[in-house]
């Protein structure tokens, strides 16, 4: 067996579930990376990818529930899931803070996802973690 130098990854998901395959590919990648002894430092949702953090998704019971499966993975592995605030607000994804600030009727962010700025992504970009993107197909 080949020696593996452990790496630290930041995964950026820009494709939405039920519109692209991005969240599924990213999850299989993350699982394989963990199984190979690598670290996932954080997962960052950007653009249409923020839909993965919705608490209100209810797909047919014979289809994968990507937001739930991702949330469980992040929780069990202790990986921070960060949702870009600018992308989220344009697409109707808000936590309790943003609900209050914008006087909205409800919040719909699924734990353990949290909302933060692009600074979190810049941090990854300039640090020593490898940044990998998972885009939509169209």
């Amino acid at each position: 067996m080949q020696e593996v130098t452990p790496q630290s990854y930041t995964l950026v998901i820009t494709g939405a579930p039920y519109a692209s395959q991005a969240p599924q590919t990213a999850l299989e990648f993350a699982r394989a990376a963990r199984a190979s002894g690598h670290r996932i430092k954080r997962v960052f949702l950007y653009g249409d990818g923020v839909q993965l953090a919705s608490a209100l998704t209810a797909p047919p019971s014979d289809e994968s529930h990507w937001p739930r499966v991702w949330a469980e993975f992040l929780t069990s592995e202790g990986i921070p899931g960060i949702v870009c605030i600018a992308s989220a607000l344009r697409r109707g994804l808000v936590d309790e803070n943003e609900r209050k600030r914008h006087e909205l009727t409800a919040s719909n962010l699924r734990p353990p996802f949290i909302i933060a700025g692009l600074g979190e992504w810049v941090e990854a970009q300039r640090g020593d973690s490898r940044v990998l993107y998972f885009h939509g197909a169209r």
Binding site: A19, Q24, R138
Partner: protein, 117 residues
């Protein structure tokens, strides 16, 4: 009765447009409307035999399509040129698919023509 053609030009699994096109087709058929499906360009990949999407945790597009005649969908049409481009020979194509040349003359036979996205 009016005739509808729904067109799919995106491949299965990578995006959802095709699935939502199929939902439209099955809904029309359920309400006894005359409806056909045309697979065009990269969309012809919906029609390849032997799809096994278990490992990417999606439902089989192939199995989904096999139900089409049962539900009263008039025809499954595949653009011949696209099949050739992607090496989709007759023996690799799902049963019950008609190869056609997708051109203006084909479209002329339908009252409504729509994409799902």
């Amino acid at each position: 009765m009016s005739r509808t053609l729904i067109i799919v030009d995106t491949p299965p699994y990578g995006s959802w447009g095709g699935r939502e096109a199929l939902d439209m087709v099955f809904s029309l058929a359920a309400f006894d409307q005359e409806v056909s499906l045309l697979f065009l360009d990269a969309g012809v990949h919906w029609l390849r035999k032997g799809q096994a999407p278990e490992d990417i945790r999606q439902k089989s597009a192939e199995r989904n399509l096999l139900a089409a005649p049962v539900f009263g969908v008039e025809a499954l049409l595949a653009d011949d040129g696209a099949c050739q481009t992607y090496g989709l020979s007759e023996d690799r194509l799902l049963d019950g698919v008609t190869r056609v040349t997708a051109d203006a003359a084909l479209l002329a036979g339908f009252d409504h023509i729509a994409f799902a996205s």
